[in-house]
């Protein structure tokens, strides 16, 4: 035999070609469905249909709806936080912040489903990732907030509350993904991402220039 263990619970490393293909298809389909309907609003039939599988086949790869959902959240959480991790203590303070804003805005444009997935989860009280928020996320944010504070103390940024500065970046950038329909309804034909980068750049320059 070419594979010594069942599909359930395998790490992707030891997976069959078929397993890789189907698991990827499932997670992509699940991202589509969960991000537009939320956890409870999504159905296994929808996900199975979008992945091109039957429902029992879906459950052959992930043992429950919740297993799909948490696998998806775990796989995406790290990626989602990478732009913040990239804040470089050695870099130019204002330049680092502006680059972070730019990276987050780019993610809102290129990965709106991921943004809405987390938005749905958090608006509804983050029942599945509350631990990650109070653990890893908080530690990361505290670390970067301290970095920002050190920049302020060194006179490289105008004084602001570092945590609220970070919240503002999340809020302003993800707004374009999470509230996309509203933004487009108000703007009409104008592409939101045409003026957004310049607007945010100006906002943070004026606010943070020492």
């Amino acid at each position: 035999m070419s594979n010594s263990s069942s599909a359930r619970g395998l790490s992707t490393g030891g997976a069959t070609r078929i397993q890789k293909r189907n698991r990827a298809a499932i997670l992509d389909a699940a991202l589509d469905v969960f991000s537009t309907h939320g956890f409870r609003g999504a159905t296994l039939d929808q996900i199975a249909g979008a992945a091109g599988l039957s429902k029992p086949n879906l459950l052959y790869y992930y043992k429950s709806k919740e297993a799909i959902y948490t696998a998806l959240l775990e796989a995406l959480l790290d990626t989602w936080l990478d732009p913040m991790r990239a804040l470089d203590p050695e870099g130019d303070a204002l330049g680092e912040i502006l680059a972070y804003v730019r990276r987050k805005l780019d993610m809102s444009r290129s990965h709106p489903r991921e943004s809405r997935l987390f938005a749905n989860e958090i608006v509804q009280g983050a029942p599945h990732i509350h631990n990650a928020l109070a653990g890893d996320l908080r530690a990361l944010v505290d670390d970067k907030a301290a970095l920002i504070q050190s920049w302020i103390d060194a006179g490289k940024l105008a004084p602001v509350h570092p945590h609220h500065l970070i919240f503002s970046i999340w809020s302003l950038t993800q707004h374009y993904a999470d509230f996309d329909v509203q933004v487009r309804a108000v703007l009409g034909d104008e592409d939101p991402f045409a003026a957004a980068p310049g607007f945010l750049d100006t906002l943070y320059r004026r606010m943070l220039q020492p």
Copy 2:
């Protein structure tokens, strides 16, 4: 008889005392449930339980789940937009903007359920209020954006894209209600609303001071 028509479809004006009480209880319960679970995630049993009624009794006052939901959205949409309507063309430009920000932030603190109700609806594509967004909301925003542009042209505000300025106010203020769990998970014991007003005041002063 004291009342010539059935409960269904009555305007609140001609409603019995019992009708008023129960309809209010239903809408309050529905706000609780819909804002934390979204439309599809909410169940009639949850709403009926929270309102202290049986499910058939619930459906005696509103003929379907969707009827409750749309009644709730309609009743709240006007209230939700009042802070923007209050922008006064005759007032001091920067002061008007700062007061608007403050009103919106106060609504996030005092009415987080309403904020999350709309957040859920819009993140999931606004299937029930898309018309209101592209109609009334857009008209109102265009009107106020023109006002802001006139302030900019008169040299009373630093130049920014008026629509994106409005988006930023929605985003930054509602973030504290919609992403409450995340904000609190990161801040720990610190009350988000302690520093938020000062932070936003500073942000908009620095960005908009001509």
